[in-house]
């Protein structure tokens, strides 16, 4: 096939990128080679727009065993045990085909974890959709939500990994471009770590797992372009997942690793055979030669181009010591899986692809994996459409506002979602969905791992730098609230088209905010994912960095989120806050009650935040509190009410002393605050004093009612069961009858 400018454009390579290909090869590429370059140099695989900025991130600490660049980051958690974790996006496939798009997102991230030798023990998801009650797009948004949730459930449940937490947000900005970010975490001993390296000249290159088909060809390049009307025709680009096959692959890989015959291993994710071969060779400084005739194929007549670009799921590439291949084959036979030698490791540093002996591609591995174009794209002030000033805030009925907030998609219970996920399989889940952070114990040790995902597109739309710092602070606070010390971060950066300078500005500001906050909170970034071109017909999503932070704590029955007996003191760590009305424009109140976004995100004092986190960690560790809950979206009033939704419906009688106007006092989202209940307030005060933070006793727990007064003015007085009923069933009702929900409350 002749390489014409049209062919080059169809591969999403620019003229200058094609010139670079010519320079690296010293000749014109074959069509197979062009396809290989296109996919390896796609934004999805090469991070060409973000790489120079990602370099700024802090990536090391004494605990970090593996930072960015491998399939997943690895962190030491003591006693010779380590965890591997990472987050990945599957935004574009999930819009085109929600069920399979989300399912294969889970499959992909799980392979990233077990390819390193770790057994996956937890999954979390951060998912964002357009609003369910939008008269124009609501139908489609509901369908996408249902498809994504059942896709995640289908894959994770069958594979046998618990889905222990996550977040779900509804916002107009995700109407034409939902976000599906999946996090996975695995555990292993230090001596069980494997890397994606094709070491040892003459060693065998072995293909294992599912057969290669024509599915997913060019998935990586699809994920690197904006959506247009033609995108719907790209449905065949979405792969189809088989979690049963992946479960067998997991068990077989972990068992094969124990033979000692495996030198390196990598999953075939985006760009399948292409990325696994050249990346493994590049990391080891070796060459890889394969002959496609040996690749197990689902259908006859596939070309080398199709086989190299196929993204068929549940496949792995491994390198085994020469002479010990049979030990590996025996394990895969036991599990009923294909395992075939398809090539060898060579000393010439090249990826050589043959089919029945004929050479179809011959490219230096480094050219593909390390020489990808790097762009310092021009950037300006970040895109911002929101005004600085908002409307006059005045409410006639604060209780009704509270109910509307509790019924809103972002704040209502996500039970409808998480009850479709098996969140307990493997019997390690000490705190699951609905907790501030999930806690998973590590059997055989005295250590548990806590984890949380956080994002906030609204804050980041107002100020990407401050917004990103706030989500890191919030995520660390979530972990601290369950008593865990945050130790490392993974991140998923979801943005629009980086070729637009005002979008690039958002990306740069956000990465710098991430750098600042992760350095300050001592949570180095060990990996992650960048998803760009999240635009449909020129409308970008809100800048949406999502962080996943992990921490450790001693294994114990968790301190609950909810109040558990009447008569305990309620103490607000961090105090009432001093927000101005500009800082109110990003809140859930502004969104739900006024349908507006304005101003700037809440102000964050990182030093104070850190001291609040130390305080709550110490209080939880010493069991000085009966319950603990982070004050987050929806502010103090929503947090208080959430604390009342325990099994016993224990509410609160709260008396505030504040000059703030009631709406702001109740619903502002100032950070650095945690609500606790305790039978020993003096202990709480003393730990707070030691850390120089405010601890305000605001009331006592009370049977079945929530009453909030300010300076004797009664702001809220509601029955817990009434509020709980709204909160519990709202999502289901939004899905069944979105119009009713809004008129009912």
């Amino acid at each position: 096939m002749k390489i014409t400018p049209d062919v080059i454009t169809a591969h999403q390579l620019t003229a200058s990128e094609y010139d670079k290909v010519l320079g690296l090869l010293g000749r014109e590429p074959s069509i197979t080679e062009l396809g290989i370059f296109a996919v390896m140099w796609s934004e999805h695989c090469s991070y060409k727009s973000s790489r120079i900025h990602l370099k700024k991130l802090p990536t090391g600490s004494r605990r970090v065993l593996q930072g960015p660049g491998e399939n997943a980051g690895i962190v030491d958690i003591g006693d010779g045990i380590a965890i591997a974790f990472k987050i990945e996006s599957h935004n574009h496939p999930s819009f085109i085909e929600p069920f399979q798009g989300a399912a294969t997102g889970v499959g992909g991230i799980l392979r990233d974890i077990f390819t390193m030798g770790a057994r996956p023990i937890a999954v979390m998801d951060s998912i964002r959709f357009g609003k369910l009650d939008d008269p124009r797009t609501g139908d489609r948004n509901r369908r996408i939500l249902e498809g994504v949730v059942s896709g995640i459930a289908h894959y994770g449940n069958c594979f046998g990994v618990p889905t222990v937490g996550g977040e779900c947000v509804f916002e107009e900005s995700y109407d034409g471009n939902p976000l599906v970010n999946v996090f996975a975490l695995g555990v292993f001993r230090h001596d069980e770590i494997f890397y994606g390296k094709a070491s040892g000249i003459g060693n065998s290159v072995i293909y294992v797992g599912a057969k290669t088909g024509r599915d997913g060809i060019h998935g990586a390049s699809m994920a690197s372009a904006e959506f247009t009307e033609e995108s719907k025709q790209k449905r065949p680009n979405v792969q189809v997942g088989d979690p049963f096959m992946e479960k067998l692959l997991l068990e077989a890989c972990l068992e094969a690793m124990k033979t000692g015959a495996i030198v390196g291993i990598q999953d075939m994710g985006a760009a399948g055979l292409t990325s696994s071969t050249c990346e493994m060779g590049s990391r080891a400084g070796t060459g890889v030669e394969i002959d496609l005739q040996f690749v197990p194929q689902r259908e006859p007549g596939m070309t080398p181009y199709e086989m190299m670009l196929s993204e068929s799921q549940e496949r792995m590439l491994l390198v085994a010591e020469r002479g010990r291949e049979e030990e590996v084959f025996a394990v895969f036979r036991k599990w009923g899986l294909d395992a075939v030698k398809i090539g060898i490791v060579t000393n010439d540093g090249k990826l050589r692809v043959k089919n029945h002996g004929e050479i179809f591609a011959e490219i230096p591995n480094r050219a593909l994996a390390d020489e990808a174009p790097k762009y310092n794209r021009p950037f300006t002030k970040p895109l911002r459409t929101a005004p600085l000033n908002g409307p006059e805030i005045h409410s006639d009925d604060l209780a009704s506002d509270l109910k509307r907030l509790l019924a809103s998609g972002d704040l209502c219970s996500k039970k409808w979602i998480y009850e479709q996920y098996d969140y307990q399989v493997r019997t390690n889940t000490l705190a699951g969905p609905g907790s501030d952070a999930a806690i998973v114990r590590i059997k055989g040790t005295n250590t548990s791992v806590a984890m949380a995902l956080d994002g906030n597109g609204r804050y980041c739309a107002l100020d990407p730098r401050e917004g990103t710092k706030l989500i890191v602070a919030e995520c660390c606070r979530n972990l601290s609230t369950v008593g865990a010390l945050p130790i490392a971060t993974t991140n998923n950066l979801n943005f629009g088209n980086p070729e637009r300078p005002e979008i690039m500005g958002q990306i740069v500001e956000s990465i710098e905010g991430l750098t600042e906050a992760c350095s300050f909170f001592e949570v180095p970034v060990t990996g992650g994912n960048v998803s760009l071109y999240n635009e449909t017909l020129g409308t970008p999503v809100f800048p949406t960095p999502v962080v996943g932070i992990v921490g450790t704590l001693e294994t114990a029955v968790p301190v609950p989120l909810a109040f558990n007996r009447p008569g305990s003191s309620i103490i607000l760590l961090g105090g009432l806050g001093k927000p101005d009305c500009h800082e109110f424009g990003g809140t859930q109140y502004a969104k739900v009650i006024h349908d507006l976004l304005w101003g700037k995100p809440p102000a964050l004092d990182m030093d104070y935040e850190k001291r609040v986190q130390s305080t709550i960690r110490e209080l939880v560790r010493e069991r000085a509190v009966e319950s603990a809950h982070d004050v987050g979206d929806g502010g103090l009033a929503v947090a208080l009410v959430e604390c009342s939704f325990g099994p016993e419906n224990v509410g609160a009688d709260v008396n505030l002393e504040s000059g703030l106007q009631p709406e702001i006092l109740l619903f502002h989202e100032g950070p650095s605050r945690v609500l606790v209940s305790t039978g020993d307030p003096q202990k709480v005060f003393s730990v707070a004093r030691k850390n120089r933070i405010e601890a305000l006793e605001i009331g006592v727990t009370l049977e079945s009612r929530v009453i909030i007064r300010n300076r004797t003015q009664r702001l809220i007085d509601c029955r817990v069961d009434e509020l709980k009923n709204i909160w519990t069933h709202s999502l289901e009702e939004l899905l069944q009858n979105p119009i009713l929900v809004n008129t009912n409350v």
């Binding site: 449940n157 049963f244 479709q420 019997t427």
Partner: protein
């Protein structure tokens, strides 16, 4: 007691059952591979939860052909204790060791949550340590847990006191709220809820010990020469 936990390709609660039996109940426990023609010298067998053979065709429909199932059938015929949990219950009905069938949940969605159950009978090796009418709260986690059978079968199960557990709140559409049943000889039980997930105080509930503790006690008694 020595308990064998059968591992089919796709079993994923095998380790949980093993852990509960060996760590929480301090019994000897070992895995038995699906290709194994024999059960060795175990005193009792657990068919664990999961997605044996990917739930392809129907849940449990392929597992019933696994070589190990010949041994399980014989073991059951000889009076050995067999407990099928979740997918294990599905396998037992497909294999004909228990009557009825398990089909898709009423709302067609997977459901994972703790559910309150009524102990209907204590005349069984799996519940003799519980109290009749007692409420046990155990987690369920299944997409196909709706128990169905003909009216005659249901009547027979009730007449012979073979319904062991009923949902107090029906979470999947099961006929007559049935969550667990016995075979006619009362040595084989299938149940959709997961007692192994409620056997450790760290997991928030130990209600599952009423089932697994009875099972161990019966197994120990049976294995005594």
């Amino acid at each position: 007691m020595k308990v064998g936990v059968v591992v089919f390709p796709g079993s994923n609660c095998d380790h949980d059952a093993w852990y509960a039996m060996s760590q929480n109940l301090c019994q000897e426990a070992e895995f038995i591979w699906h290709n194994s023609p024999s059960l060795g010298n175990v005193d009792a067998v657990i068919l664990p939860g999961g997605f044996s053979y990917g739930d392809y065709l129907r849940c449990g429909a392929i597992a019933k052909f696994a070589p190990v199932m010949h041994a399980v059938r014989k073991f059951a015929r000889d009076g050995g204790l067999v407990l099928g949990i979740c997918n294990g219950f599905q396998v037992l009905t497909e294999a004909g060791l228990l009557p009825g069938a398990l089909v898709g949940n009423g709302n067609l969605k997977f459901v994972c949550k703790p559910v309150p159950l009524e102990v209907v009978t204590t005349d069984s090796p799996f519940t003799h340590q519980a109290a009749k009418g007692q409420t046990l709260t155990l987690p369920v986690a299944h997409g196909e847990g709706c128990y169905i059978a003909s009216e005659e079968t249901l009547d027979e199960l009730e007449a012979e006191d073979r319904v062991v557990l009923r949902y107090r709140v029906n979470c999947n559409g099961s006929m007559r709220n049935i969550a667990g049943i016995l075979n006619a000889h009362r040595n084989v039980m299938g149940m959709m809820p997961h007692p192994e997930r409620a056997s450790d105080p760290l997991m928030g509930s130990t209600d599952g010990l009423a089932i697994l503790g009875s099972f161990v006690n019966a197994g120990v008694t049976a294995s005594r020469p």
